[in-house]
Symmetry: C2
Subunit: 224 residues, 2 copies
């Protein structure tokens, strides 16, 4: 009997990881069924350590026994491997380069939302919340009046950003900001994205993320 990772499609993930969410959205959009293995992050599995020896991080997509790491690279791999079905990236090289640019921008700037909630409070946090809102507003300007970042249809940049949404909502409760009030166009966009089953099924419950963040903040001495 072949080992689980040698057959079909396997995702090693963690429910808290927005990057896992991103990969699950992409697979759902393509209609690909897969085996999902939830990692116990404090006790990473031998499978994870074997298949991502460099970073030892989720998500890892294992396809026909071969691992692919880093979520944006995984989404691109899914796009190129399962050419049929919903296109995850534009075919035009220029539009593709613009989608790659904004997805990279999101990971460079929005990822700090996690770090922010882990290690700051008071004035320091408020200063960094302002900075964070600045990045969100750049994204809101880029979205403009379009329903989705790529235009009329849900695509790469939408996938890249919506996977952070539960974290952003939870962070807003701690950092006193509101996506709805502070970036209303992004709020409308997120509301549209959440209507997709691929998204609503993959996103973590923001209340659970909030509880986890509070737990981490307590451990780090930032909350009573």
């Amino acid at each position: 009997m072949p080992a689980i990772e040698d057959s079909g499609v396997v995702v090693l993930g963690w429910w808290v990881s927005m990057f896992t969410t991103r990969v699950r959205i992409a697979l759902a959009e393509k209609g690909i069924s897969y085996e999902y293995i939830e990692e116990d992050i404090p006790n990473k599995s031998p499978l994870l350590l074997k298949h991502n020896p460099i970073y030892k991080k989720v998500p890892v997509l294992i396809h026909k026994g071969k691992p692919i790491c880093e979520s944006l690279i995984i989404v691109q791999y899914i796009h190129e491997t399962w050419k049929e079905g919903y296109p995850l990236l534009p075919s035009d090289p220029y539009l593709k380069s613009q989608a790659a640019f904004w997805a990279d921008y999101i990971d460079k700037h929005i990822y700090q939302v996690v770090k922010l909630t882990w290690d700051s409070k008071g004035e320091e946090m408020q200063k960094r919340v302002e900075e964070f809102l600045g990045y969100l507003k750049v994204l809101e300007r880029e979205l403009g009046e379009k329903p989705y970042f790529n235009g009329e249809s849900f695509g790469f940049v939408d996938m890249a950003l919506i996977c952070y949404y539960s974290h952003i909502i939870a962070f807003g409760k701690i950092g006193n900001f509101s996506v709805e009030k502070d970036t209303p166009k992004l709020f409308a966009w997120a509301t549209q994205c959440l209507k997709r089953e691929s998204v609503s099924k993959a996103l973590a419950d923001p209340n659970k993320i909030y509880e986890l963040l509070i737990e981490i903040r307590k451990k780090n001495g930032l909350e009573d």
Copy 2:
């Protein structure tokens, strides 16, 4: 008469920038002629500010009036736009994902070589030199006995790494390490890469990079 940036292929670059070097290597491998505009970094041109309003950084590739930013994204764009000629990326999605993984690793870890030389000295620098050599050794292991990262032919990962070479050599003179002695396989690989005209013509003179680094270190109070 159309503006310069509206016609053909234009690169906005800076001789010190390894990311500019990377784009120039890719264009040379494809045999694409282009207009090169050297930026005066302390006084960035209106053309640069217009075409990279988010980061205001070089390199920018302007093709038919449209800007593409971020060097790895630019190389992928070149690969997809000029399909004829030397392939910059593998066509197989899995091999492509592995090339993307390592190029990303290089930019995550090797880029610190610049920062290292700008802001540390003494024991702090030695500690960080060790860390840096650790990353180089991971890359050396990945290269293994292959002539190039992608196998038999010069490709995406080679382009991603060789563009740092002059900086690494200059940094070695400051941080007391030697690519030749500390990572001999990488040295042999680099020597092979430097035989390519695309590389030797695009790389900055390491002595000039060294002089510039010493100048910056003096300004930052790290050298007498």
